[in-house]
Symmetry: C2
Subunit: 296 residues, 2 copies
């Protein structure tokens, strides 16, 4: 791993942990037993609450550290109630569910930037990486930083297209994603999209409201008729909701001993079902633990 990251990394990957005494701990039991110091509250201005007309609620954590201008647009769009009455227009099996956009080409609110920089990767400055130390087909190195799964080449770092990650759809030119159209990954991680499109967050809860939908039968899983759409009642930041209706979530700190123990257990399953622990895990197969805050 290149120097610029090594200086700030914890240096505790799976390799170092393979010398820990074997215990019959499962990823689940480690998460359950993690002390409160292993958890961090997600700020309510980073939670986007999507309420569908079927009354299902999807909570999305935004990632301003990775796509600040996209997130700024998303915040502005939610405050302008842009998505209210919009639709889930595309469900492509094993790939993505996608919603809203601007099909009628209505004017964007004045607070929204029409042209954004790509924001597909960022400098690693100020980030602390917990490296996975396992080979990866797409990136020189993968790991976790600030609660997110990432790839890195040792200089820049980017969010990985894992299950449940949320991105900003775009047309062919890289600067056409304005944040009005969002998608989430509902199948095998399409990592070929890493550094080709801006990831802006991830689904924290209600994922099944986006996955257990009929697949679109048009090209690329678009629905053929508006009658097939699932519509959006509202999309609001948690901070803009009355405090009684405000969801609260915590994410496990990816530089905590608990998370490192969790990674080790994901890669080396010793619970009774397993006859042969894998000895490795993919960055998208070790989802960062999140949970509703206990104060809820």
């Amino acid at each position: 791993m290149p120097d610029c990251f090594t200086r700030i990394a914890f240096g505790l990957g799976l390799f170092a942990l393979s010398t820990l005494p074997a215990r019959a701990e499962t990823p689940t039991s480690i998460v359950k037993q993690a002390p409160s110091s292993a958890w961090q509250e997600i700020q309510s201005q980073d939670l986007l609450v999507l309420t569908l007309y079927n009354n299902r609620v999807v909570v999305i954590q935004l990632a301003p550290a990775f796509a600040p201008r996209h997130v700024q647009n998303i915040v502005a769009l939610s405050k302008a109630r842009w998505w209210d009455g919009g639709d889930i227009t595309r469900v492509q099996d094993g790939y993505v569910t996608q919603w809203a956009g601007n099909p009628s080409r209505k004017a964007l609110p004045a607070t929204v930037e029409a042209v954004l920089p790509p924001e597909y990767e960022r400098s690693d400055t100020g980030l602390s990486l917990t490296p996975l130390n396992r080979p990866d087909a797409y990136a020189a190195q993968t790991g976790f930083t600030s609660g997110w799964p990432v790839g890195t080449d040792g200089h820049t770092v980017w969010l990985a297209h894992c299950y449940g990650m949320v991105g900003a759809g775009r047309d062919m030119p890289p600067n056409t994603g304005d944040g009005t159209e969002l998608y989430t990954v509902i199948g095998q991680a399409p990592r070929q999209l890493d550094r080709n499109i801006a990831l802006v967050g991830r689904v924290l809860s209600g994922m099944d409201a986006l996955t257990a939908l009929p697949r679109g039968t048009g090209d690329m899983g678009f629905y053929r008729t508006p009658a097939e759409f699932t519509s959006i009642q509202s999309a609001r930041l948690a901070i803009d909701l009355p405090s009684s209706a405000r969801p609260r979530f915590e994410v496990m700190k990816t530089d905590s001993p608990s998370f490192i123990q969790y990674l080790h257990a994901r890669a080396n399953r010793t619970d009774p079902f397993y006859v042969r622990p894998a000895g490795g895990v993919d960055v998208c197969n070790a989802p960062v633990p999140t949970r509703p805050s206990s104060q809820n």
Copy 2:
């Protein structure tokens, strides 16, 4: 890659292909243009046709080359109409959909073996590997053989738990999977299950009938009440159906030039959307092309 495989392998991985001239071909266009010699008809005794009570049809290709005794049981169970009236009992978001099993512990048909060998991996003898030549978090080497995605340690070879692969559920002891209970992967490839459970095939069509279902709210995604089940009308081998009702499918030969070209295009997307081709692909992110036979 160890000798025993090298002798029979094609030796044409992505590395060798990176010297091919760049063309704006997409995986889709390569599949469309593949000559008929790149395709192989799947034998109708290897197709299991699951018809649900909602009239959705799921076609599964069995993998007797990898789990012969499990497949033998599945064949016997279909001929005994074992699954007819059974249920989809579990849908765990991002993980698996699972059906039937033997909840009432009824006696197995005499043609079915109650105790099977694990069949989690097999010798590589007689198999020709198209290696992926990309790093993998789980296996020393990955690639494709006889139309299937596999991992290998150079001596044994095993099917990889990719999206849509079908396995035989089991209890804790490794010899408890009798083939009555099957599951398919509906999220990120749970490769930690490789070599821990017998994979017996893959879904060829109707996958969305297994993925676009309400998630179970009980432990591990099991439905809490039978009212939530989706029930199975029938499960038959294609060969046991009247010829007019018999589905026919082809799989791309994974040792064909077309497939190698497809792999290269999956790893190096040059279609206009991509600003930065990944230069690699995961074994589960390059699904082997299959299609209904044109003679249908």
